[in-house]
Symmetry: C2
């Protein structure tokens, strides 16, 4: 099972790829997509979408994992985050990949960090779990953490926000996703406009 | 000048196309993209993106116009609206089209409706301006209104949220967009995460 975690933001979008084979976790790759903060929003979204689609093509994950958003600084920042998150979810759906969403507290727990721990602690735990010396940016370590969360805990507790659209991708979902599918009544659907 | 207005929502996305030639406004087309409310969010975003991209290819506008979001019911609905808005802005940017954003009050004024008027009044004014008998859905009449806003008032007051990325599309922008470009310091950039 290979999972790509995403930490979406409108200026920086982190991604991280982790593979589990016979109970062993292996770091496959990670990166941060940076956009020009002075570029118009539609152009920034185009860059985020194209680069994330490129990472999905390069790493060919079987699932995409993303942190849920449950607390907001304010409505305007929620709107802007929604734009970036929308193009990230779109890129995953266009590849026919299932998307799983986890609450931030569960992501932290899954790497052994506590609810009060900051991004530094998460990065240290991710490095320890994946035998990395350091991860240069929190966007990437957060993305690896949410990928680990799906692999470590997701089998029983994943909240499916997206399922595949074809038999082909269904066959790639694996037991974890199918189990999470069965648990999907617990998925909290965001309010629709 | 042909403009496609968009009224983005995560369940219904309205669009409307208006053309101005020698001071005459002509209704070109409109529609509402509907998505299955029970489908997972990433799948809904994929449908919205594909269908809006299809409308842009069909109608070949020179600009896209969208209502700005300045008031919010709550942060969660702002997040969900952001997802839909993100894929709409992405579709416009991928076609190399400039995107203009107008405050809701200006959209209403541009069709002769007052700030306190509801969607019904906007629909009636849009029908009168474009010589239509009726428009079946408010999503579509709101989209036509924001297209009219760009044609009626946008020349001096448009807030550019997106500009084209190529010389090809630059040449398609027209005087209104270029003038709005010059006025872009008034563009209120949303907070970045």
């Amino acid at each position: 099972m290979r999972v790509l975690g995403v930490d979406p933001g409108s200026r920086f979008m982190g991604y991280g790829v982790v593979e589990e084979r016979r109970g062993r976790l292996t770091h496959v790759g990670h990166g941060v997509i940076k956009v020009d903060p002075d570029a118009p929003l539609p152009h920034r979204l185009m860059v985020l979408h194209a680069e994330l689609a490129g990472a999905l093509s390069k790493y060919r994950p079987e699932a995409v994992s993303v942190e849920g958003v449950f607390t907001f600084r304010n409505a305007r920042s929620a709107l802007v985050l929604g734009h970036a998150r929308g193009v990230a979810l779109l890129a995953a759906a266009q590849k026919g990949l299932p998307v799983f969403e986890y609450p931030p507290a569960r992501v932290k727990r899954s790497v052994g960090a506590g609810g009060a721990d900051g991004k530094d602690a998460v990065a240290r735990m991710v490095c320890a779990l994946l035998k990395l010396e350091a991860i240069e940016r929190a966007d990437a370590s957060d993305a690896l953490a949410v990928a680990l969360c799906h692999l470590n805990q997701g089998r029983a507790a994943g909240l499916v926000v997206g399922t595949s659209r074809s038999a082909r991708s269904k066959s790639r979902k694996g037991a974890a996703a199918l189990l999470a599918d069965r648990l999907s009544p617990s998925y909290r659907r965001p309010e629709a406009r």
